[in-house]
């Protein structure tokens, strides 16, 4: 069992939890993920490691409430325990040898992008962070990003905070103004990553994306997390989760990601009804 040490609501649909998992904390690196199961009958879901504290043996996860499992997780409080919590899984972000990078995050993907930005920044890389949200109520980790970037650009779809527009608009502007990046790292919705990659391809800038497909075991046993990269089948849980963005087949990944969408909604509504029933 893995105890929740701290819980914080970052916005109405995004929650941060610091979980006691000493073995995971000891080995965790930015870019890696964990798999958890809320309770005995729960499904296994992957979540990226947003931060870790080796001394205290804790791992921070940040999740958006999108389905039945994240809804159930969000109902746990400080002091409660998570049934299973395994990791760190996947390969760590390669940060060595980069002098200047742009980190482009979208929505809850910013939770994954932040530790990457932080690691680059701490090793002395010049980091330009561009983060985008639908509106100002959904903004997360603004101060954290500012503290880990030499340049910080906030974008919103409706202009209610930062500049109005998409992250690709901001990235394009920076590139056009003469900024030269060794690498762009982008993490967010598939559609956003697809368009960031399209843009950087035009300028010939190497781009790394973090893929978050459906997973079960996370150890390479089931093949459910497979995706096509450079025409080859790869398993995100062992070969990734980071891949060369210019090689990823995003359209296929989007179709696969939608595999259980109807089911998710159904299960989510069931869970909501269940929780409503409990409060009565």
């Amino acid at each position: 069992m893995y105890r929740i040490i701290r819980k914080k609501e970052l916005n109405p649909t995004v929650t941060l939890m610091e979980v006691s998992a000493p073995l995971v904390a000891k080995k965790a690196q930015p870019g890696q993920f964990i798999i958890l199961r809320v309770d005995e009958d729960g499904e296994r879901i992957p979540l990226t490691i947003a931060d870790y504290n080796r001394e205290e043996g804790t791992v921070t996860i940040i999740f958006q409430i999108v389905g039945a499992t994240t809804e159930k997780l969000n109902h746990l409080n400080e002091g409660d325990e998570i049934c299973d919590f395994v990791g760190p899984l996947g390969k760590a972000t390669v940060t060595e040898g980069k002098k200047k990078v742009a980190v482009v995050g979208g929505g809850v993907g910013c939770a994954i992008a932040y530790p990457v930005a932080k690691k680059f920044f701490e090793q002395g890389t010049e980091v330009h962070s561009i983060v985008g949200f639908r509106n100002k109520d959904l903004v997360i980790l603004e101060d954290e990003f500012k503290a880990a970037s030499s340049k910080f650009v906030l974008m919103s779809d409706d202009g209610s905070c930062g500049e109005k527009g998409l992250v690709t608009d901001a990235l394009k502007k920076l590139i056009e103004s003469g900024e030269q990046y060794d690498e762009v790292i982008t993490i967010g919705p598939l559609i956003m990553m697809k368009f960031v990659c399209k843009l950087t391809k035009e300028y010939g800038i190497k781009t790394v994306v973090s893929m978050n497909p459906i997973m079960i075991d996370g150890t390479g046993m089931c093949g459910g997390c497979r995706l096509t990269v450079g025409g080859k089948t790869k398993f995100a849980c062992v070969d990734g989760p980071e891949f060369d963005g210019h090689e990823v087949d995003f359209d296929e990944a989007m179709a696969r990601g939608a595999m259980y969408k109807d089911y998710e909604r159904h299960a989510y509504e069931d869970a909501c009804n269940l929780f409503k029933a409990e409060v009565k």
Partner: protein, 316 residues
């Protein structure tokens, strides 16, 4: 013990009985390996596996789930930091193989491992289980081994019409005779001498049909089995909404890549001598991780052999 399949559990049991302190590390949340995630309930009730594991616990075996050796803790650390005098690797057969034909990543194409795991380990068949599984109408299971039979019979139990698609004939089916008979009794349709060449999807990226060719048996190949060759102009479409690939596995590189000096054969299986000793001192291995996908009996045998060798070495 790395892995709690039959190999690791058999090795753990023998050593515990001899008085050793034994810890089993398992990557998943439940101990048992293929016995719990692969082999379906109707063939091996989970209660039996559970009882065996309770028996080991009573012998003093400590079972640590949610630990991926090579990620959470390395083999080297097990020996140095955690003070284990010997390590046994029983990590199983590994990654499922796919055919690399067009359309294989459409929604509704699974590896047998994924399909069986969703159903067995994650209890997706239960109405209140929260892991989803597709309830397909027409399923093609590609392959002819025991795993293919299990996947087919599970799909049948979800209410589907099920085909086994296998490129050789009835004689050559690698599955055990009884398994084939059970499958036939349950109404599973055998499309033998048939090989898939492409999977077609609909506009939502979900499986719609599978294009197959008919085969005939030619000259015996290196394995002594007659090699199937494509019959000219025999293409046809099999209308299905789910395809389960059951083509075997290739070893998981995780432990090898994180353990210095641990050698594998060209296929990627861990090299171990007749006593189970690998190329690293005091590190033993056995079961599917060494032989490639085999049987429960062989895996247990390998675990027992290694237990004897470990005892001999440590009691010196």
């Amino acid at each position: 013990m790395v892995g709690s399949g039959p190999a690791g559990l058999a090795c753990a049991g023998d050593l515990a009985k001899k008085g050793y302190k034994v810890t089993v590390f398992e990557a998943l949340h439940t101990a048992g390996g293929v016995l719990v995630y692969g082999i379906p309930e109707f063939r091996l009730p989970k209660a039996i596996v559970k009882k065996e594991i309770e028996g080991l616990k009573a012998l003093g075996v400590d079972i640590q789930t949610n630990v991926v050796i090579g990620k959470t803790i390395s083999i080297e650390e097990l020996k140095t930091e955690y003070g284990f005098e010997a390590v046994f690797i029983g990590s199983g057969a590994g990654l499922p193989m796919f055919m690399n034909i067009p359309g294989e990543n459409y929604k509704g194409v699974y590896s047998a491992n994924e399909f069986l795991t969703r159903i067995n380990l994650m209890k997706a068949y239960k109405d209140n289980g929260s892991t989803p599984v597709q309830h397909p109408k027409k399923v093609a299971v590609v392959g002819g081994g025991n795993v293919a039979m299990d996947a087919a019979r599970c799909a049948k139990r979800l209410g589907a019409e099920v085909y086994i698609v296998y490129r050789r004939g009835m004689e050559e089916l690698p599955a055990r005779r009884e398994e084939v008979e059970h499958a036939e009794e349950e109404g599973i349709i055998f499309k033998l001498l048939t090989n898939p060449v492409e999977i077609f999807g609909d506009d939502k990226g979900a499986v719609r049909a599978m294009k197959c060719v008919e085969m005939e048996l030619g000259e015996p190949d290196a394995s002594g089995r007659r090699k199937p060759v494509v019959k000219p102009d025999s293409e046809f479409e099999l209308e299905v909404d789910c395809v389960i690939m059951s083509l075997g596995t290739s070893p998981n590189p995780l432990i090898k890549s994180t353990t210095q000096g641990l050698e594998t054969n060209p296929k990627g299986c861990i090299i171990a001598d007749e006593k189970g000793l690998t190329t690293v001192e005091n590190v033993y291995a056995g079961g599917d991780a060494v032989t490639g996908a085999a049987t429960v009996i062989l895996a247990m045998g390998a675990g027992k052999t290694a237990a004897a060798a470990i005892d001999e070495k440590l009691s010196k």
